[in-house]
């Protein structure tokens, strides 16, 4: 699972969960894969992302990549920063680990890079 997915994912499908964001992330295996740098896509995604969640998630799995804690205002011209963001968003992949719902502490296991979001019958809202 890429950190881009983590940044957009919530657990609000669970019964009784109101926001369910951000999911806590615990990584056992992390893989770095290569992905083509697409500046236009990174620029398009930045406004959609929750910056703090991204920085925290990257640090939690040990690939902080020196991202600034606050997003600077003229990030559009800072190509080095954009490349770093691209690396964290698209190239860092959690292979094995867990996602944890912030409200119910329900654990969603990640195995072989695929998070398992299947719910039991009594958890469906």
């Amino acid at each position: 699972m890429k950190l881009l997915t983590h940044n957009l994912l919530s657990s609000k499908c669970l019964k009784g969960v109101k926001v369910g964001y951000p999911l806590r992330i615990v990584a056992k295996d992390v893989k770095i894969s290569e992905s083509e740098y697409n500046m236009e896509f990174v620029l398009k995604m930045i406004p959609k992302l929750d910056w703090k969640v991204l920085v925290n998630a990257a640090e939690q799995i040990g690939h902080g990549n020196n991202l600034p804690i606050e997003l600077i205002e003229d990030y559009e011209d800072d190509e080095e920063l954009l490349k770093k963001i691209h690396h964290v968003l698209m190239e860092v992949e959690v292979i094995n680990g867990e996602l944890i719902c912030p409200e119910t502490q329900r654990i969603f296991p990640i195995s072989a890079g695929i998070p398992n979001l299947l719910l039991n019958e009594d958890e469906v809202s």
Partner: protein, 273 residues
Amino acid sequence: MSRPEHLAPPEIFYNDDEARKYTQNSRMINIQLEMAERCLELLMLPEEQTCLLLDLGCGSGLSGSVSEESGHVWFGMDISESMLKVAKEREVEGDLLLGDIGNGIPFQPGTFDGAYSVSTLQWLCNADKSSHKPAKRLYSLFSTLLACLGRNARAVFQFYPENVYQTDLVVSQARKAGFFGGLLVDFPDSTKAKKYFLVLMTGGAMPMPAALGTDNLQINYTSKREKMTKGRASKLVKKSREWILEKKERRRRQGKTTREDTKYTGRARSGRF
């Protein structure tokens, strides 16, 4: 036509064997790719832009590779672990999630520029567990999908409805969730090439895209009643040029491959053969 959704729930039907079959059978692959291409076309994404798309029921990622080729980034969701494993083996670029789309789409508001689904929706019309209520599951799919789509984004579902009740159910639940749009039928004259697409739009009712293979559905006005009395067109002399042209036209309406009409159409051989 066989209906796998009658045999077992999707997470059980698409086991390792079936998943492998799905990715090795060239006929299935071609149909999937063709449908995915048409879905992308119907999404009417802005040109020359990388979009973030959601593939509902992505399976082994065949439909995802179509959006990869068009330069988009995609996420896939499926309920079958075996199919997702095959997708991982194929090293698709999209990120995969194991989940039931009938329980809702777990993404943040405004995430996607579009969503599509190839032959998945009919699975949701069945109740596989005693707790399943198709109408409720469809509604939670559509309402959560609407929330995670961006402004003016579309969602296109290609599916195989079993009967008119299923199409009604699907369309009414999508409308109830707040989508505009409706059903589009490609090649309605042909039983084999006929394909159903649920085209859903956000942000206002817009004209539906045109279906394929329906050019001749419009009836032109004619003032002469005599035309009708001449009898049916099929009374043409067999093997005549008119008869051949009419037959070719009929095949074209059914979406079958047909050679072009030329000056040689229906002409006798020169005799040298």
